[in-house]
Amino acid sequence: MAQAFKTKLRAEGISMVFKRDGNSTSVLDNISLDVGDGEFLCLLGPSGCGKSTLLNTMAGFLSPTGGEVRIDGEVVTGPDPRRIFVFQERGVFPWLTVEGNIGFGLFKLSRGERERRIAHYIKLVGLQGFEKAYPQELSGGMKQRLEVARALAVNPDTLYLDEPFGALDSITRLIMRGELLRIWEAERKTIIFVTHDIEEAVQLADRVVVMSARPARIQQIVEIDIPHPRDISSPRYLELRDGIFEQIGLAHKI
């Protein structure tokens, strides 16, 4: 169980009500969740259910209307370089080169140290030879890896990924999942990963948090007890996957 981890992030009774034109919509309803240090957690739910909103409150971009998020016991009040939010590949800065993007958050370091880190992360995400390239010259998968590298370069202890592979084709997406796991195993960051793809969640996560439609509540937390690399045709994988399919109320037949 998750108790094997030290708790990194604790969300307590998070509620979020958006008010617009006099109407109020409840998006998050009393969500409590612990995330372990170094854990890979997936938030899974249908589009528009509010899982991104939850991620944004955890990252400090939104303040919840009820409850609080604590990281290492400290209340989250705003964004912080110790925890980096990775958008879909659209978040890379188009006016900076690959190097410039990766070095973006490293402005406090000395020049030598900065260059060393940039080189390290370019290698980690396999963008050697593209140091001077601009994002518009890169493919979608490369941009996504660049954004992950930019996030890792500032050595955050938590990464928030908001459907990071949603805009990629299915082959690139599979490759990127493998890359992300490789990087996670090398760096052991805490990762909170939002997705609406059940297969993706079961392939990646230590635990999958299944969320209901709006207002989002935690429907179930599924522990994926298969060691990496995961065999996605193993009976245990299929069992867990189908369990989630049922949980969400989908028949797994087309």
Binding site: F85, F93, W95, L96, F107, Q136
Partner: protein, 260 residues
């Protein structure tokens, strides 16, 4: 999108030359057959250009026009870009000031001529002021909109990496808004070039605009009028080309639609 197949390389030279030749021939013969004594033919214009070059006033006039545009436009950019950035950055400031800008903007800079002569007298300062007015508002509006249109994702990413507001403005908002600012500068430069000619026709006695009006008033030298117009066109074209170069820089290229 075009309906026809890719033209061959030689066509890229042939067609423009052909069109140019047709145009010149049409001009030449229509002057000849209309029997106009006043309107110049291409040959007259070419002689006119030669005459201007020989007399040596031309360089002085070009330099005068360029200086006025240069000073007025630079002042407009120097004040307009920071003003636009601030108005875009602080929505409250934008909300308060924007209506005033929208009211002042459509006043043709040329309508300011009488006031600018009262304030600055007949001379360079009046012309520069008019050019400044013509260029200032497009630059402010482009910079303001540029900042407003910066995707919130970029701002968030900047904040996430721990940037302070001043750093965020310098390292994220400004570069993200730069393509729109450059586009605004280019439009403003075009307007400045339009206004300088008008200002020189009315408010000063040198420059290419003055050359146009002077050639007409002192002896109906329409060959010189057209020669001066051609020069205005050519210099304007060169200014525009220089600006387009700027848009090709890699760090701003992303902001412009790829051209066919």
């Amino acid at each position: 999108m075009n309906s026809l197949a890719q033209p061959a390389k030689w066509e890229k030279v042939l067609w423009p030359l052909l069109a140019g030749a047709v145009f010149l021939a049409g001009w030449h013969f229509s002057v000849k057959y209309s029997g106009s004594k006043i309107f110049p033919s291409p040959v007259d214009v070419q002689k006119g250009v030669a005459e201007l070059l020989r007399k040596g006033v031309l360089w002085g006039y070009i330099v005068d026009s360029l200086r006025r545009v240069g000073v007025g436009f630079s002042l407009a950019a120097l004040l307009g870009i920071p003003a636009g950035l601030i108005l875009g950055w602080y929505p409250a400031a934008g909300q308060v000031v924007n209506p005033v800008i929208q009211m002042l903007r459509p006043i043709s800079p040329i309508a300011w001529i009488p006031l600018s002569i009262v304030w600055f007298g007949v001379g360079d300062a009046a012309a520069i002021y008019l050019i400044f007015l013509g260029a200032f508002f497009p630059i402010v509006v482009a910079s303001m909109n540029g900042v407003r249109n910066v995707p919130s994702m970029f701002r968030r990413a900047g904040r996430n990496f721990g940037l302070k507001p001043a750093q965020l403005l310098a390292k994220v908002v400004f570069p993200a808004a730069l393509p729109q600012i450059i586009m605004g500068l280019r439009i403003a430069l075009g307007i400045a070039w339009l206004v300088v000619v008008a200002a020189e026709m009315i408010a000063v006695d040198s420059g290419l605009g003055y050359l146009v009006i002077d050639a007409r008033n002192s002896g109906k030298r329409y060959d010189l009028v057209v020669a001066a117009m051609l020069l205005i066109g050519l210099i304007g074209l060169m200014l525009d080309i220089a600006f387009r170069r700027l848009e090709k820089l890699k760090s701003v290229r992303w902001g412009f639609r790829l051209e066919a």
